[in-house]
Amino acid sequence: MTVLDTAKGSWPERGDAFTLEQTWSDPPGLLGWFSAVNHKTIAVRFMVTTFIFFLLGGLLALAIRLQLALPNGKVLGPDLYNQVFTMHGSTMMFLFAVPVMQAVATYLVPLMIGARSVAFPRMNAFAWWIFTMGGAMLYLAFFLDIGPDAGWFAYVPLAGPDYSPGKRVDFWAQMITFTELSGLMEAIVLITTILKMRAPGMTLNRMPLFVWTILVTNVMVLFAMPAVMLASTALITDRLVDTQFYNPAKGGDALLWQHLFWFFGHPEVYMIFIPPLGFMSSIIATFSRRPVVGYAAMVLALIGTAFLAFGLWVHHMFATNLPELGKAFFTAASLMIAIPTSVQIFCWISTLWTGRIDFKTPLLFVLAFFVILLLGGLTGLMLASVPLDYQLHDTYFVVAHLHYVLLGGAVFPLFGAFYYWFPKFTGRLLGERLGRWNFWLFFIGFNLAFFPMHVLGLQGMPRRVYTYPAEMDWADLNLLATAGALTIGLSVLLFVVNVVRSLRHGAAAGDNPWGAGTLEWSVSSPPPMANFERVPVVHGRFPLWQDAAQPAHVTGLASGYREVLITSVADAKLDHRLWLPGSTPWPFLAAVATTILFVGSIFTPWAVVWGAVPVAIATTAWFWPKREMTGRRVDSELLP
């Protein structure tokens, strides 16, 4: 058991560690599995779930590439193809890219800020359950041939009741409700954790850059996600109860959908892209053996990016008949957002320039950013231009661009992050040799798959076509793209092999295999259930790199209860102690009840009425106080 690690001589007595481990553990057994609320347990489940969706989305991508490998392809018919590309986009955006960042964050943030848990651990568990159930619902529908087929963007009127009869789009819209509910709850959990639960002394100015990215991202979630929830709810009511929000024939407006969707959709790109900037900063600092250049500039760049991200959405709509002068402002804003990103890239290059470099697999994945994201960013400048967008919009050029941005900006750093933190999650290192194969196959396969798409787009190939005629001369580049996609598939397979092998046979990691400087590396790998046996007091940005200072620890926290420290927002001064609630199956049961309501409402609007009853019961039971616990809490307050 990790808590018995005798290397940790600083621990005063085994008894206390045992008590803590017991206190923070979830109960054993099947019921215990459904009652788990420990943030690391939930985060691991969340990561695994999102990774399964990544694999499913990847298989769908391979199906798309096989269909398009040759002209007049016959692998998928048009109907299935449209479901497949819709599922691919929806999966990658809603079931993988945004939630995986929150999943990683719910594991790492408490460890990085010296907290024993996330805030609202039950809500955190509920968010994972509801996400999983929403994703499962979508795939169940897909396997029953009622998968959505109107694109991951579901433009009306095509997604409306007249042109998408049946239940297909309803499942898509409810999947949005599920995932956005989960995303909003995770945002609340993470923001509260970061602002109120940092270890004493970890002022905002000492927060690791990764934690900054998570804070910024989740504030963006709070502002962006309601827009798409509103939009998809209006879509559902148009489809199910005959409202006319998007029906131009009855005074609605088809463009309203696009505004609402992209007001969420563009910030979403940055919600996917900003946490990996934190991966970048963590990994680059560790593997160039120095802090990242320009901490304040990095933080300001993140905040600037977050603000500007809300002012760009119209660049998805340049081909509409919105006023030209208005479009020019969005061009300016879209170009402007390149500035904070450039600042960060320059800071990282300076860090590498002045550092001492340790070329390990995590760093390789992160370095790919400088090729792939850079290219994706530059093609983004092209798409920001109204006139160029007239040619490039909705072509394979955009497909190339968005994959360069999302894979180069998010997936490559995410894989780097897995290689980097896997030892912390599991206690074992991932294989370095397989890691290099994984990296190079991914890098080469990626460029083979997506670079030709730039050219295809310029040669006139629109997006979302299930086939193309042989006369169009697009066949060679499409075949190349398919070969690249298969190479990526092989690379991801190697990653899975690497994970499975390393879980059993990987080299033992120890607490700090990379010689990193942030708090998560101060605890054993995997961390004890309570994260920190004694909550640290922080005196700098890199507690493990800087000389120890006094006081080193907080004393006096109860080990028999899930007691955490609450500190002030800016300066992390001690504020008060709080007892977090224990393990319970009610978040799971509340998620089941909510799922019944959401799925039921696809079939009858009355499900919103009768479905609310079990939800109310489950959430009431969730919050029902226990007399014994309340009594003890009162006692502890009387006798501190």
Binding site: A150, A249, I339, L352, R356, T467, G515, F542
Partner: protein, 329 residues
């Protein structure tokens, strides 16, 4: 140019081979942007690779260099500030070029423009050539003819879902949104055959929604337009006359129009001059007897999901119908 000559050249659909003034503006902006972005890419990647090459190696045991926490790294900061300033300047340059190009696109002189109202349907294009004199207006589908050197003003509408007009050799895209009207201006400066394709995902057959644009000298265009304005002559031989009866009295007339007959359906493309068109099925199949027969009998096998129902005609009726359709020049 004769139809035969057209058939020998595949139509172009390529943004990098502009054949009209608007596409030339876009092509110039593309070249400028590509050049500038290429330079930036080379510079940043070069700096990154140089940094990796020059920096000494370390490992997990290397003592971290914490000097930057104690004192500011002024030289490094200065380099970052210069690089950021240069980027900002480049971005301003791009912005100026973008705005300039937008202005150029908007300033195409429209005197003596050809006016076309183009409506997007799932999955075909309906065109009405407008004229101040309503008697001179005419309808066609899936194939536009335009005069070289004269501006064309296209008014865009959509009947069902959103479609997007895109003829890359001539001009960029414009959405066709139900409930909204948009316009786009273009001019072909080189005669030729250009292919356009719907660029907004519009349902199951989005992939098979193409549009042919024939840019021809003004005289040829006017001759074409004159033919389109007149109804095709009534068929003379008995077979074609029987075919017309099949058309007018059978299923066809419910959805299709042939000018000068009782067939006035509006659901599907206007077929008044079907035989003069190069393709059927919205730019997807050559307008040959065999394809036409297959299309009439079982459109679903050629374009799954298309709204046209199958037509189980007796073989004689089908032959007669084909003979009639071939007279619609």
């Amino acid at each position: 140019m004769s139809l035969h000559a057209y058939a020998l050249t595949a139509p172009l659909q390529d943004a990098l081979r502009p054949a009209g003034i608007q596409a030339v503006h876009l092509g110039n902006l593309w070249n400028l942007t590509l050049g500038l972005c290429g330079l930036v890419f080379a510079a940043v990647l070069g700096a990154c690779l140089y940094a990796l090459w020059r920096a000494p190696r370390g490992d997990a045991g290397t003592a971290p260099d914490l000097r930057s926490l104690a004192q500011p790294e002024r030289r490094v900061w200065r380099a970052i500030a210069w690089a950021t300033a240069a980027s900002t300047l480049g971005l301003l340059g791009l912005l100026a070029a973008d705005v300039w190009t937008s202005r150029a696109l908007a300033r195409l002189p429209l005197a003596d423009a050809v006016n076309i109202e183009l409506t997007g349907h799932q999955w075909w294009w309906e065109a009405r050539y407008l004229d101040a004199d309503p008697a001179r207006e005419f309808m066609t589908a899936n194939e536009l003819h335009i005069p070289v050197g004269r501006p064309v003003l296209v008014t865009l509408r959509a009947d069902d879902v959103i479609h997007t007009l895109w003829i890359p050799n001539l001009q960029g895209k414009k959405d066709m949104i139900p409930g909204r009207t948009a316009t786009i201006t273009l001019r072909a400066d080189r005669a030729g055959s250009y292919r356009g394709q719907c660029a907004e995902f519009c349902g199951v057959e989005h992939a098979l929604m193409a549009l042919l644009v024939e840019a021809e000298p003004n005289a040829a265009y006017e001759a074409w337009a004159a033919r389109q304005r007149e109804a095709a002559p009534a068929p003379r031989d008995a077979l074609a006359q029987r075919g017309r009866a099949v058309f007018v009295n059978g299923n066809c007339a419910r959805c299709h129009t042939v000018a000068g007959t009782d067939a006035q359906g509006r659901m599907g493309p206007d077929l008044s001059h079907l035989a003069s068109r190069r393709t059927i099925g919205a730019g997807m199949f050559p307008n040959k007897r065999g394809h036409l027969a297959g299309w009439i009998a079982d459109p679903q096998s050629l374009k799954p999901g298309v709204y046209m129902p199958p037509n189980a005609l007796a073989p004689d009726d089908l032959q007669a119908l084909l003979a009639y359709l071939e007279t619609l020049k």
